[in-house]
Amino acid sequence: MSILKQATIDAIKQNESALLTAWIAGLEQEGSLSDNRITRDEVSAQAKDFLRLLVAASAVGDAADLSRGEWAESRQFLELLSRSRAQRGLDSQHTARFIFSLKRPLFDQLQTTYAGDPKALSNEVWAVSELLDLLGMHTIRAFQKSREEVIMRQQEELLELSTPVVKLWDGVLALPMIGTLDSQRTQVVMESLLQRIVETGSDIAIIDITGVPTVDTLVAQHLLKTVTAIRLMGADCIISGIRPQIAQTIVHLGLDLGGIVTKANLADALALALKRSGLTVTRAE
């Protein structure tokens, strides 16, 4: 149990503006304020809000257990603070420093408050230190969670971004694949391709794998499944962009793409698709 003494809480309340000034000065010294992704005013406002929440919660709360209701507001405040910093690309160190740099001014304050009582002083320094550590840890955890959310969202965006189905000609769709073809991506790709085949009434789909660095058995299996699904819809599929080194690797791996029409590049695949559609390309006289 390490609830702060009433005298500590009173001291913080009475010296609020001095503490804030010292806290901000500390942040400034550490270089936390010279980042153009966050303004000084914003940090000052956050510092003020946080100090008030800290006082309110530690007047009733048990410092050893942040999961309790008394700390809900402080926790939420730190989670929001972490999220906004994560979204702006600030790092965890910068975010955690916000809390940890409150230690110095608070310790200085305690020195004054408990000048004649070394035992109380050491108790309160310990209590404040423990409390700020816990809050700092919570901030770091919240920050990491926010970062993970940001990364996950980017991954999802990438997933869709990297699977654009383009119409090359009436009845001819192309899907330029780029990057690693994992199961999740293949699923997204396959769905959007099949969807577009229906929407556009296309009968030829070209899957271009120029941008796929490795064609192993898993990628091959995904490709085979996609081709089968396309055929089940009554359309034809051409795989293009099989570079020489990939072709040789496929042979050694023992993959059988026998039933699939393949072309070295997208241009050849398009030429074939046009031919199959009964079209010829001629040079204008």
Binding site: T180, D182, S183, P213, T214, V215, D216, T217, L218, A220, Q221, P244, Q245, I246, Q248, T249, H252, L253, G254, L255
Partner: protein, 134 residues
């Protein structure tokens, strides 16, 4: 054969398989492997690393840049402490899979590299060593 530089790479997830491939591509470049040999080695890595993750329940890849006379190469050991393979001959057969793969990973990897050695027994985990020379 002498080893010039070596290290270990964890294989726990599909993401690690991708990272492992990238790491080996760098090593292959460093050893002066031609593009087609780089691609072959990296593809073998993809197969063996994924087997370690899927069947072995995760494992490690030891890597080393090795030298023998004038030639340089990449040597890799894929180890896991999974269930092991009861019948290696069967597992090495094209088209045989206990799961729902194509059953080409092991046999294909062997054809893609210069040296291939597999050791496995039920309850003993699996250890596959491959080398590709420049």
């Amino acid at each position: 054969m002498s080893s010039m530089r070596s290290g270990t790479f964890a294989l726990r997830s599909e993401q690690d398989v991708v990272l492992g491939r990238q790491a080996v591509r760098k090593l292959a470049l460093e050893c002066g492997l031609r593009l087609v040999d780089q691609t072959k080695l990296v593809t073998a890595v993809s197969e063996l690393a994924r087997n370690a993750v899927i069947y072995g329940g995760g494992g490690d890849m030891d890597w080393a840049i090795v030298e023998e006379g004038a030639r340089k190469g990449v040597q890799l050991v894929f180890r896991d402490n999974g269930p092991g393979i009861p019948d290696i001959k069967q597992a090495m057969t094209d088209g045989w899979t206990s799961g729902n793969g194509l059953g080409l990973g092991l046999a294909g990897a062997k054809r893609l590299v210069d040296q291939f050695d597999i050791q496995s027994a039920p309850g003993q985990g699996t250890r596959v060593t491959i080398t590709k020379w420049n």
